[in-house]
Structures are given as C-alpha cells and as structure tokens.
C-alpha cells in the first residue's frame, strides 16, 4: 500500500488477503441512500486499476418507495475481475445492506451465493421501534441459520462520529470498506470522490473523504478477511459509461442533431444526457407532447434536414408504428431506438426483456421493410448509432436499434473511441436537381433512389404516404404499387450484400451452437467459454443485424448437431401438457431462423426481468449436452 494509507491508521497484521479471479458485490439500500453512487464509484475505481468491471443497477419502480421495504430496494451489483467482464455474472459473493429488508427481494430471487458474506447495518437491532428490532433479528437469524456469513457493521454509528447526517454519508463509508476489502488504491478512491462531488464545495469533498477513510479503517480492524483481484492496467484510455449514455454519445458522434422523444422508462436517461450535451454542443432534444408526435417530428426533421432520431421503449414504439410506416413508404431516413423493457403493456418498466424483436421487424402495417439492429454491449450502443445513421441515410430507410433495460444502466469500460469525420452526416444537399431526375428513381438492382430535400431547386414534389410512382405522383394502379414495394424491399437485399458474415465464437463446427442477439452476448459467450473449458464442443453466434440477416448463417448452423437460441423473451415450455410441436410458440429469433433457414432450431428463454446469467445458461446447456445424442 502507498504512503497515503499510513496516515489513516495502522494496518491489521491478522488480516488475511486472498487473491481472486473475480468477485461479485451487491450494495443494497433504501432508495435515496446512495448505494448506486457507492457501487458506481467502486466500479470506476476498479476500472481505473485495470480490472474488468460490469455494474448493474437494481432499481425500484417507484420514486419514493417506503423506507425499509422489499419493493423499495435500490442498489448496485458490481462484478470485478482480472479479465474483461461482459455481464453481471451469477450469484453475489459479498453483499452490503443498509437494512435487512432490502436484502429480502434479492435473497428470495436467488441472487446470493449460498454461504456468501453479508455485511449488515446493525443499528436496527437497537431500534426504539420494537417491531423494527424484531424484524432485524428475525432476518439476521434466518440468514445465519441459512449459512450466510453475516457481519454486523455499525455503519451509521461510525459515520455519526464524523458527520451530523450519517444517513447521507453512509455510502462513502461503505465505499471505504469496499476499498479495504478489495485492496483498491485509496488515492484513486479520493480522486473519485473529488470527481463525483466536483460541483460541491471543498468542505463536502473533505467530509466524504473522511468517511471513506473511516470505512477503510473500520474494515481493516474489524474484518479479518480481504481480497485482491489482480489487474493489469489498460494500455489505452477507457470510457466507463452505461448503455444509454453510450447511445446518446453515439447520436452526437453520428452528426444527428435532432432527437424527438417522449419520457419513457428505461429509455429516457439517454435523452436526459443528450439534452445536456446538446445544450453545449448545439442540437435539439425535443420533448414532444406524445410518442406519436415525437416520431412525426423526427420524420419531419429527417425529411427537411439531416437524419433525426427518436428514442423510446416498447409501449412508445407501438405508438410510433403508424409514423414508421409513413417513413418506410415515403423513404424518409429515420433512426428509432427501442430500449426494450418487460411487456406487454406497462409490464415491468424497469426490467430487461427482449420481446420487441418481431414488432421491430414486422410492426407498422402493410409491407414495411426496415432495418433492425441490436446492440450487444455498451461499446456497441455507441457505434450502433453511427452505423444506424449511415444506413438510414444511404438507403433512405428506417433503422430500428434495439437495446434493453439491462444495457441501459449497466456500465462497462471500453476503449475510448477515436473520432472520425466519416462518422458524421453529410451536409444537407441544396444543389439544383438535374433536369429529368425524379424523387423516386428506383435503381432496378438495388431499389435505391436519391432523396430530394426541400430547398433544392427543381426538386419540388409532394411526398406522400399514398402509393406513388417515380415522380411521387399518387398511384392508383396495381403495377405502380408493386414497383414501389419491389424497390423498398430490394433495399434490404442491397444492404445485406454489404454485411460481413457473423463470426462464430469458439470452433466453427461442433455439437451445439448457441445463437443470441442483443444484450445476452456477454453471458452467452462466457457460458460457452466455461463449457469449452469442461471439454464440450459448444460455440456461439451473435447477431447484430436481425433484418436483414447477414449471409453465411445457414452454413454455420449446418455445421452443428444442435442449434439453440438463448433469448430474453417468451417461449412455450415443451413439457407443458398442452404444448407440442404443432402449437409451441418458439422464441422470436428461433422462429426467424427456423423460417428462413429450414433448420431445426430450439430455444431456451427467460423472462424474469433480470439479465440472463452465464450460470443459468450453463445449467441449461449441460442438461442438453448430457442427452444421448451428444454422448461419445
């Protein structure tokens, strides 16, 4: 440890520090007690030390839920490792709780590893309210009986020695404890505090640093254990942001300058951040009166100017569908982001699900071909926006980008992007339109035509959602109607020809291929790695483009004995009494692969609102691999 530590207090010679490959920590508190800030700071410090990090927010659905309630639990899961971490992992190894009630939801959901360490705020034992004291004792005793290693920590009492409102400072005390337990660099921790309280006074920073150091000291002298997760410092700068921030930065980097939106969880934080950035950088986030207006506004902006974006989540996406049909028909480029959540209807607004794939691909009405992409990591959220803008512009198409609640608030470091002017939208074409050119001069091979923008002399035409001919005149005849449909459909094929075939993770052939899309990539690949280490012939394939699907997929599927999709949406369970091959509803991607490639693709899905863990995927894959057909 460095010199700074010595000033804080003596070291405990009895402390045993164990070296680990990785560990999962959860910090749980009532809403507003700062567990989120504590967890994210812990993740940032570890990331700066070079650890692989993935943080997941655990968010209550209400703004001001009652204190000490199961439903009001708010917190953060931080998975740190020596290597790159791509998902939230399995059960937690160490849990810190500001009261015993906030543990219960996670405990009952099976999120804690059996026998894991639980550091529990002990003040409730002495609560003047006998009911609270009894609740505390009951839960503590239950945890002990169940074999958890419970350490009671007088967090608030310790903080009271330093600050008048210990409830507010507790999270920094806990951060100090974590820095001690995971042998993190305290200089980096102090810098982190200076960074997060940067807008506040020097006094606030000093007070929080004092809490941090007190937490560190307390853990040093009262907890006999500690860990070290070795890290190699990254050689290039890394960004630590969540998926929604990455989407917002991607919008800025793509050169799009109008975003029209309506508030909806879990998408809105992308627009919050973008509003702030655009205030400085120029650009407009328009909060429309509703989702329909947001879509129409973006369509108007795209039509007259640069490609615009609208950001929403499932229910909002449904409301935009008519507008999306217009953009498809009139060939107005548009980027639509759907940060998916549990559905249908209001569903589980803060929870992750991947149920909007079909609605993204086949939504709207009539034949409405559009591009559908899915983001598979935080980094991908950033670059997908640049790609989406470019495709929308080149093909005059609607590009739907699917993210989800698990990426929205998860943080993961990735290499700081190197800006390129190629990312940006070109200026609006205001040159005169050549004599004889039409607004829909569909190319017979690619279906592409050149868009005319208002302001271009000679390009005057009335764009319409009605069927139309090459000059944008309303078409009443069937032949012209089909010409338009043909051209709009061809554009997908033209794009497909430009897409690189997806890469197999693992061997190119084998017993079992797991196929996924979107946020499950990290968990799927980790489970494949684990099973390969056990000697199984398992590989995976992850699709970033769902419509069109790149070439080469059929050949890949054909090289495996068994193909299985893993997705966060519903699929009927084959062992239900009424379910058989004639009525089983497969998951979305499985259905698509079966239909397109005539391959017997099975599926395994979960819709429990939490990110699918590598452990649960491994369990399922092991079950399947144990079957007769794979025995050798």
């Amino acid at each position: 440890m460095n010199a700074a530590v010595e000033t804080m207090g003596s070291r405990n010679a009895a402390k045993k520090v164990v070296t680990l490959e990785e560990h999962i920590v959860e910090i749980m508190s009532d809403s507003g007690e700062g567990a989120q800030k504590c967890g994210q700071s812990f993740g940032s410090i570890a990331a700066r030390m070079g650890n692989g990090v993935w943080t997941v927010e655990i968010i209550p659905a209400e703004i001001q839920p009652p204190a000490r309630s199961v439903a009001g639990a708010s917190g953060n899961r931080i998975r740190i490792g020596s290597k790159r971490i791509t998902n939230g992992g399995d059960e937690a190894d160490l849990v810190i709780a500001f009261n015993e009630q906030v543990l219960l939801g996670r405990l009952n959901a099976g999120e804690f590893k059996p026998g894991c360490i639980i550091l529990l705020e002990s003040m409730w034992a002495a609560s003047p309210d006998p009911k609270i004291a009894a609740q505390y004792k009951e839960t503590r005793d239950r945890l002990l009986t169940d074999g958890y290693r419970v350490h009671e920590v007088p967090m608030e009492n310790q903080c009271r020695k330093l600050v008048s409102d210990p409830r507010k400072g507790k999270n920094m005390f806990v951060l100090g404890m974590l820095c001690n337990l995971y042998s993190l660099d305290m200089d980096l921790a102090r810098e982190q505090i200076a960074f997060i309280f940067g807008k506040k006074s020097e006094k606030v920073i000093r007070s929080n640093v004092a809490l941090l150091e007190a937490g560190f000291d307390w853990a040093e002298h009262h907890l006999e254990f500690g860990y070290r997760v070795p890290a190699v410092r990254a050689t290039e700068p890394q960004l630590v942001i969540n998926g929604n921030t990455a989407i917002a930065l991607g919008v800025l980097a793509s050169g799009m300058d109008i975003c029209a939106m309506y508030p909806i969880t879990p998408a809105t934080s992308a627009s919050h951040y973008l509003s702030d950035v655009f205030e400085r950088a120029g650009g407009i986030v328009h909060q429309a009166e509703d989702e329909i207006a947001a879509c129409a506004f973006a369509i108007g902006s795209s039509y007259a100017g640069k490609v615009a974006v609208t950001i929403t989540s499932g229910p909002g996406y449904s409301l935009k569908q008519e507008g999306i049909g217009l953009a498809v028909m009139a060939e107005i480029p548009l980027v639509v982001v759907n940060v998916q959540r549990g559905g249908p209807s209001t569903g589980q607004p803060t929870k992750a699900e991947q149920s909007d794939l079909f609605t993204a691909m086949f939504g709207s009405h009539g034949d409405a071909p559009k591009v559908v992409m899915a983001t598979s990591s935080i980094e991908d959220c950033f670059y997908s926006m640049i790609t989406a803008r470019r495709i929308a512009e080149t093909f005059n198409m609607v590009v739907v980008v699917l993210s989800d609640a698990s990426l929205a608030t998860a943080q993961q470091p990735f290499p700081r992007p190197q800006f390129s002017e190629d990312w940006l939208a070109p200026p609006i074409d205001q040159n005169p339109v050549p004599e004889g050119a039409n607004p829909y001069d569909w190319d017979p091979i690619t279906g592409l035509s050149r868009r005319f923008s208002p302001g271009q002399p000679g390009g005057m035409h009335t764009l319409t959602g009605l069927a139309h001919d090459r000059s944008s005149r309303v078409a009443y005849d069937g032949e012209t109607n089909e010409q338009g449909m043909h051209a709009r459909s061809l554009k997908l094929a033209a794009l497909q020809r430009m897409l690189a075939p997806p890469k197999v993770f693992g061997d190119e052939a084998g017993d079992l291929l797991v196929v996924g899309w979107g946020s499950t990539k990290g968990a799927i690949e980790e489970s494949v790695e684990r099973l390969r280490a056990e000697g199984h012939k398992v590989s995976s394939l992850h699709l970033n483009f769902l419509q069109p699907m790149p070439g080469g997929i059929k050949e890949i599927l054909g090289r495996f004995k068994h193909v299985l999709t893993v997705e966060g949406n519903w699929s009927d369970r084959p062992d239900d009494p009424l379910i058989d091959d004639t009525n089983r509803r497969y998951s979305a991607l499985a259905m698509l692969l079966r239909a397109r490639y005539l391959v017997d693709v099975d599926c395994w899905t979960e819709t429990r609102g939490r990110p699918i863990s590598p452990g649960s995927i491994c369990n399922e894959l092991r079950k399947r691999l144990a079957r007769e057909e794979f025995r050798r």
């Binding site: 407009i284 328009h286 108007g300 902006s301 959602g465």
Partner: protein
C-alpha cells in the same frame, strides 16, 4: 455569375406567375371550398414572391390534405392527424423554409387534437389553414367534432348528439396563442387578405376557413352566403381592412383590435353572424424554434470538440 445576371435572376425570382405554383389538377368535388383556399394560397405565394423550392405545404389526411399535390412547391402529404408535428420537425430542422399546414376538422380537431393544442403552445412560425367543412368527406360523410348538433351523417343517422367544438375558442384558450383568424371560402378577397396576414405573422398563425362541402352538407351555409348581413366583418388598422368594393356588400362591420384577447374570445363564441377577420394577434410571443436556437450549423470540428469533452468526463486513463 456576373452582377447583371444576378440582378436578372432576382427579377425573375420576384416575378413568378400563378402557374409557377400550380401543380396537378385538383380532384375536389365541384363547388368544394377547398378550391377557393387553393386559389388563395397560390396567389399568396406569387404575391409574397415565395421561392417554390423554399416552400413546403404539409398536410394530414382528408379532402383538405390533398392540397399539397396541387402546388408546385415541396409538399408533404403525411398521415391522419400528424401534419402539425411533421411541420414542426421540418421547421426545427430548417427554419429557412416557409412552412404551411393544410388540415381539416377531423384531422386537426379530432385525431390530431393533442398536436393542435401543443402546436399553439410551441408557437413555431408556421401558417395553419384549418379547412373546416364540419364533416368527414373523404371517408364519406361521418360527423366531425365541428358538426353542428343534430347533423345527420352515416354514423349519426338521427342527428349528431353533441354540441360542436369551436376551434376558435379552443385555440384562443391555449397559452402562447399568437394569431387566430377566421375566413370563409365564399369571400375570396377577404380569404386572401386574412391568409396573407397570417403568413406575415411570425408565429403559429391559425386560420379557420369555413368551407362548404356541397357533396355532404350542401346547404349548411346557404343562408349566410345569400345574406351578407349575417357576416360580421372585423376591421382594424392592425387587422385587415375591408375593401371599398366589399364594404358595399358586407355592411355589417365591427372595429376590433386584434390585441384584445378578451374581446377576441367573445367574438369567437358568436356563431351568427359569422365573424370574419383577425380575432387575435400577438407578435411578442416567442417562437419555439428561436428559443431552441434552431438552424445553428455544427461543424465536424465543433462536434469533435464536444465529443472529446464528454469523453474526458468518463475516461479512465491508464
């Protein structure tokens, strides 16, 4: 280009003929009031010297919304009820364009009503013409929100049940309202004057045009058309002046100061005689596109600078 030819081009620019704004042949029914509105906006474009390539007519769905097809400017014939948010998007991206909206009573006051209320509040510099014929025409005669109580239609065979919505009082009741006028299709000269005033107002100019639908509610305005005394012509030095020729016919005139919103609301509530003219105008209301600083150009350099500044905030340096 030489100075002389630039001047010549300017001259050409300023002297366009009506034909330069005329697109396809209108397919409206004979006697439809939409024809009068089309004639008035084409004349407006010519007289105001609008560049066709810098002018966009946006519409929703309905008989009214066919209008852009008959203009030789840019046009956007969108979807039912959504002309206003589309037009707002256009104006935000391109404040340099002249943006008009043609919408009907079903389009604006029913399916698009939420957008209407909010468009008034945004007060973007857009000219909106509400073609109010009190009936759904394109879908073949259903009652609209502005159909008078008792209107017999295919969905109200024994007469409509509800009192009609008054688009003028609704508009005048919304915060940030900046321009409200009423015109009728059967007095073309005043229609043109009012639309011109609307276009010249910087802000959300809302003109309700009472429009006859000979096909489905043929005799609705018969009595008013034949009795000029039942028209109330609003005049003011800050409003529109009734021409000497019209004064002889429409003698029922009333001075009305368009800055007086209380009086405007009273006049708007009156249905007989029908008020014609500018009810309200307030040039002081800020435009949303100005508040949002629309049209500022970002360069590759400025995007890079702001992006790097954001990256700096989240960067973990080795």
């Amino acid at each position: 280009m030489s100075t002389a030819s630039i001047c010549l081009n300017h001259l050409l620019d300023e002297h366009r003929a009506l034909e330069d704004y005329q697109g396809g042949v209108p397919r409206w029914c004979k006697g439809c009031g939409d024809n009068a509105i089309l004639a008035a906006v084409q004349r407006l474009c010519r007289d105001e010297g609008l560049k066709p390539e810098k002018t966009v007519f946006v519409s929703g769905i309905g008989c009214s919304s066919r209008l852009p097809h008959y203009m030789r400017t840019y046009g956007f014939h969108g979807i039912h009820g959504r002309a206003l948010p589309i037009a707002e998007g256009i104006k935000m991206a391109r404040p340099d364009l002249h943006v008009f909206v043609n919408t009907g009573d079903g389009d604006c006051c029913s399916i698009g009503a939420a957008h209407w209320i909010h468009a008034i509040r945004y007060n973007m510099n857009i000219t909106v013409l509400l073609h109010d014929n009190h009936i759904y025409g394109l879908t073949k005669k259903q009652a609209s929100p502005t159909s008078p109580l008792g209107t017999k239609s295919n969905t109200t065979p024994r007469g409509s049940y509800l009192d009609a919505l008054n688009p003028l009082t609704v508009t005048l009741g919304v915060q940030n309202v900046s321009f409200v006028a009423q015109a009728v299709d059967w007095i073309p000269e005043s229609l043109f004057q009012i639309i011109t005033a609307a276009f010249r107002h910087r802000g959300f100019s809302f003109v309700r045009v009472l429009q006859r639908c000979p096909e489905f509610v043929g005799n609705m305005y018969e009595q008013w058309v034949h009795d000029p005394q039942r028209m109330l012509m609003l005049t003011h030095e800050d409003g529109v002046q009734v021409s000497p020729a019209l004064q002889k016919i429409y003698r029922n005139q009333q001075p009305h100061d368009p800055s007086d919103i209380h009086r405007a609301r009273e006049i708007a509530s009156g249905e007989d005689p029908i008020p014609v003219g500018i009810l309200y105008r307030n040039p002081q209301v800020p435009c949303y596109e100005d508040l949002r600083r629309a049209g500022l150009l970002r360069t590759a350099g400025s995007i890079k600078t702001s992006l790097e500044a954001e990256f700096d905030k989240f960067t973990v340096w080795p």
